[in-house]
Symmetry: D2
Subunit: 288 residues, 4 copies
Amino acid sequence: MGPKESNWILVAQCPSRLGTVDVVTRFLKESRCYITEQHSFDDRQGGGFFIRTEFRPEAEGFDRVAFEAGFAERAAEFDMTFELTAPGTRMPVVIMVSRADHCLNDLLYRYRIGQLPIDICAIVSNHPDLASLAEWHGIAYHHFPITPESKAEQEAKVWVVVEETGAELVILARYMRVLSSEMCERLSGRAINIHHSLLPGFKGAKPYHQAYDKGVKLVGATAHYINDDLDEGPIITQGVESVSHTDYPEDLVAKGRDIECLTLARAVALHVERRVFLHASRTVVFDR
Amino acid sequence: MGPKESNWILVAQCPSRLGTVDVVTRFLKESRCYITEQHSFDDRQGGGFFIRTEFRPEAEGFDRVAFEAGFAERAAEFDMTFELTAPGTRMPVVIMVSRADHCLNDLLYRYRIGQLPIDICAIVSNHPDLASLAEWHGIAYHHFPITPESKAEQEAKVWVVVEETGAELVILARYMRVLSSEMCERLSGRAINIHHSLLPGFKGAKPYHQAYDKGVKLVGATAHYINDDLDEGPIITQGVESVSHTDYPEDLVAKGRDIECLTLARAVALHVERRVFLHASRTVVFDR
Amino acid sequence: MGPKESNWILVAQCPSRLGTVDVVTRFLKESRCYITEQHSFDDRQGGGFFIRTEFRPEAEGFDRVAFEAGFAERAAEFDMTFELTAPGTRMPVVIMVSRADHCLNDLLYRYRIGQLPIDICAIVSNHPDLASLAEWHGIAYHHFPITPESKAEQEAKVWVVVEETGAELVILARYMRVLSSEMCERLSGRAINIHHSLLPGFKGAKPYHQAYDKGVKLVGATAHYINDDLDEGPIITQGVESVSHTDYPEDLVAKGRDIECLTLARAVALHVERRVFLHASRTVVFDR
Amino acid sequence: MGPKESNWILVAQCPSRLGTVDVVTRFLKESRCYITEQHSFDDRQGGGFFIRTEFRPEAEGFDRVAFEAGFAERAAEFDMTFELTAPGTRMPVVIMVSRADHCLNDLLYRYRIGQLPIDICAIVSNHPDLASLAEWHGIAYHHFPITPESKAEQEAKVWVVVEETGAELVILARYMRVLSSEMCERLSGRAINIHHSLLPGFKGAKPYHQAYDKGVKLVGATAHYINDDLDEGPIITQGVESVSHTDYPEDLVAKGRDIECLTLARAVALHVERRVFLHASRTVVFDR
């Protein structure tokens, strides 16, 4: 459940090659960093190396700048990109919603009790409905209505919020509008959407009604990074729930709420704990 | 797990109307039948009434013929169809397979220990591979090869087996050939197929490879009645299993075996215990 | 998900005997009540008959008093107790908590969006911590501190709240004090507790720490009616979650929250929808 | 699903200390071994370091003896024990059974299709019942009856089989006799038992009957290493299944079979793939 308080996280990825693990672990050893957990994977099919390490410095006075500079040199030989995260880091986040508030409510609760290492900087909606919920939690709420004509303008406003808050992640917590290709591009790899079906089944609108018509015995939810192909971005987590003939479409909507909340919250936790790597149209997830 | 040894099962269905439950339960009472479990459902959206009752006659010398004749009269008023199943009835079954034997092996085991109230009359395959497995269980094995040209002829042979054994159910336990529309028509409502994906996702060939390419985090299986629209018949059961980036397509194939076996076995159990009702393109399942 | 808006619910139970279903369904027919769903069970081992019916009156002007009087007469012959619940009934509820707020927060959310047909009349706690949460939802919050000496007195105050609000159900949503035998007696069959383990494993204090020490690979939660034998009352629902060697006790505490919330909420839903019957030390649950 | 064909596995463990990962990965780099997957864990509470690496030699002519000798020198500094497993290694196994054959049947199937990298050298039973099943699979079956007086003698015979076959793992696949302390000692860390309950709930005899009496809503199974404290050895895997009031004890027995098979098979797979580490009374499991 989240990195331990005193742990740093180092994640890195690069093309497949001999010595990729060693270049990371040797540097950590030389820097007197104590590794508490490590996971690496080398994809033999798609190619690509991925590693995640939690560690704590043994020596006092760990110098982050020196560490990053030193490691950058070694990593360069492997065309390795990396990211270092300090203990207690909270990722700045913007949440986008429409009218349904279950996912928002769930994220706000986890945020309030400190279960998710995020800072919710702002909530953006195309509807005014959820303003009071935001207010109780002391979070700025921006109501940016949207019409077919005003979409570009509205997205520009959203973008200003993202930029001004320095948000590193945008969570689409049942935001019911399709983002423009341009917006998807800008948010590539840092916007997570929850879709209320087990993708690739039931893309698009009203998936629970589609599921009812089809007579499925399981419904589900999918959290994925957005891209400009609707409901097609790389999948992070999926959840599932049993249903029966007694469940009418509105019952599926109600039943699905729990699994949507859990699936999205888990995806966000995995992302902010740096457990997810984008890998073409798929993800590598070092789950716990 | 299955009706109790001494219990009869009465199932019935008819168009929605006032008094449908009463017509069943009143007759059972008058016939001095002791109801141990009963489940009914009236579909307010699609219309239709469904009921399943387990009972044991209180009086000695229960007269099945008289019971059926008596009830038929009452049922007629409601356009109600019904079926009565005696305690200890074992449904005659034909199993169709190709080369993969996991579902067959699983069904044979459950059959051997008496967990499924079926009689496996014959196993039919388009390949010779699984003959020895059938032999060990003492079951007739028919190898009917198939080519594009011989399909009609091969299906005719299969049909002879079904007719001669008096099979009431055909189980497609990973039979990898598409049945003709004519065959589907003949087996309507009494042929169950296992498809190795969570339908409607990944229809058609090689669903695990499709799942790998898509990068899903859950794979599954779907047991359904066949109809002449491939992988589209009414769903009975679905099962699911977690997968990760470390699972290559061949790993998904291996992982999926368990969930395919369980999903198919459960569908067969539900069917032979008369817990499944066909209802247009959907099913009503009185699960336990 | 819950009885449909326009449906009445009739539940009944009595000793096992021929004709128990008929006495219910015949009366419903005679009263021109249209049954939409019905489930009955007769326990051949412990003895006892249980039935739950959802119906809507066909005729206008359904007379509840006449219905109850009429049915009481029939039921008396079978020593049958019964309860009739009108459409849209919301059960008055008191929630007891201590400091942990995850179950309370979850119940309040479901209450706020109308997913649980309850009226939360009051929240009672031995700590002041959760007063503002209650306040935001507009619900009375009673802080009744407790010391070893003041327990009887504190429980008397709680009892006054239960009586004055007319609460039909008390939910112990992580209330961390043991109730006296007297209080358990008074609340028999109408107080649901959530225990954070898979009972009968890990009774008593700090079950997640016990689970860590034991090295289990699954943790769970159990919702049960209270009785005066601690953590031993009849079980309604149980839920479960995977854990691993990387989960320290505090991680189990965090991971367990979701499953506690879901398990308790499901038990409350089943209870208020009249799907649960007490049957000696066990329960009969007509789940959906 | 199992190590890839061409991969070696190196596992190691030692007391917690700075540099434990580096000593492994540096040596692999120097030996020109390409790491495809690696997982390490350092237990901050109990102390102890654990690592598992899958790799393939880059250079031709990998010299196992030289590798082991070289690594032994490095490992000695860290009091590190290790084990190297060649690609395609199949662990020699003895299975012990009584009368119930579901777990045996399941293991034999997985063995037959090559899903489990084991060699079943012999099956030992205190009953003759399952001899023909063994025979069909071409495996030696030893019927060693047991009486209170002959227990020591019988165990001696079992031990001879274990020694003569060179079995590295003994699987108690529903063997219904308690092993002596001496036998437990001899098999420490290399005998896996399946118990048909969610330990620590329902230890000892007839756990499904205990579960019925308690009225639980979930039953389960636990696979664990044996030790001389009955049903108390370190847990490897646990599985769970929903049950209801309609399930009498014999139904729980029937329902439990599937989850017992799956839970045991998964534990065996994890063990033979060297994914399980004993750590005092607990296990570290690098699951997939």
